[in-house]
Assembly symmetry: C2
Homo-oligomer: 116 residues x 2
């Protein structure tokens, strides 16, 4: 099959969509519904203000989340999963199952390898 590597390239593009350090945690938090900026920062442990800004901006650019501004004092900005974003989360669940199944074996193999 010569379209095997094409599939790999497509998967790579998806990985580049959410493969950075914070995209998946943020998307996971949004799974529970619309969240405000500060809520997200508190819910995702360890993320800096800057990285949250960068991450949601990128996710919005790719159409995975939508941004809703309510002009008031103080200003309120909320983020929400789009249909595409939700479907992507669902697609990653398959990988989650794989992870739960093989994580231990991988860790063990890595440990054995490092013993040399």
């Amino acid at each position: 099959m010569q379209d095997e590597d094409e599939v790999c390239r497509e998967v790579l593009q998806i990985v580049s969509l959410v493969g950075d350090k914070w995209s998946l945690p943020v998307l996971g938090q949004l799974r529970g519904g619309r969240r405000r900026f500060g809520e997200l920062q508190r819910a995702v442990p360890g993320i800096s203000q800057r990285m949250l800004t960068v991450t949601v901006r990128k996710l919005e650019r790719d159409g995975l989340v939508s941004r809703h501004v309510h002009a008031s004092v103080p200003p309120q900005v909320a983020y929400e999963l789009t249909g595409i974003g939700r479907s992507l989360l669902v697609a990653t669940l398959g990988l989650g199952e794989w992870a739960a199944e093989h994580r231990v074996a991988i860790a063990a193999h890595r440990h054995r390898f490092d013993a040399n």
Copy 2:
């Protein structure tokens, strides 16, 4: 659900397994069976000798591929998918379908976003 972010963390670990630039293309090439080092480098367009070495080393460490050395002159080293590696490839196929389905929409959305 508080195990949602745990799933995200697990997926993140998988992504870190094959989320780099070359792991997926190399794994994809190995899908056809055992391949020698030079074959891999010729089959994966654009990869440097160094990055192929680094990539197969990492994949071997994680137990996704196995390394077979045939001591001879000139030396022959071949790589092969393990069971875990093959199952991981299968798991990524779901993402491949998602990619084929939504890639165009994402590109369009990104283009619209950049127009501002």
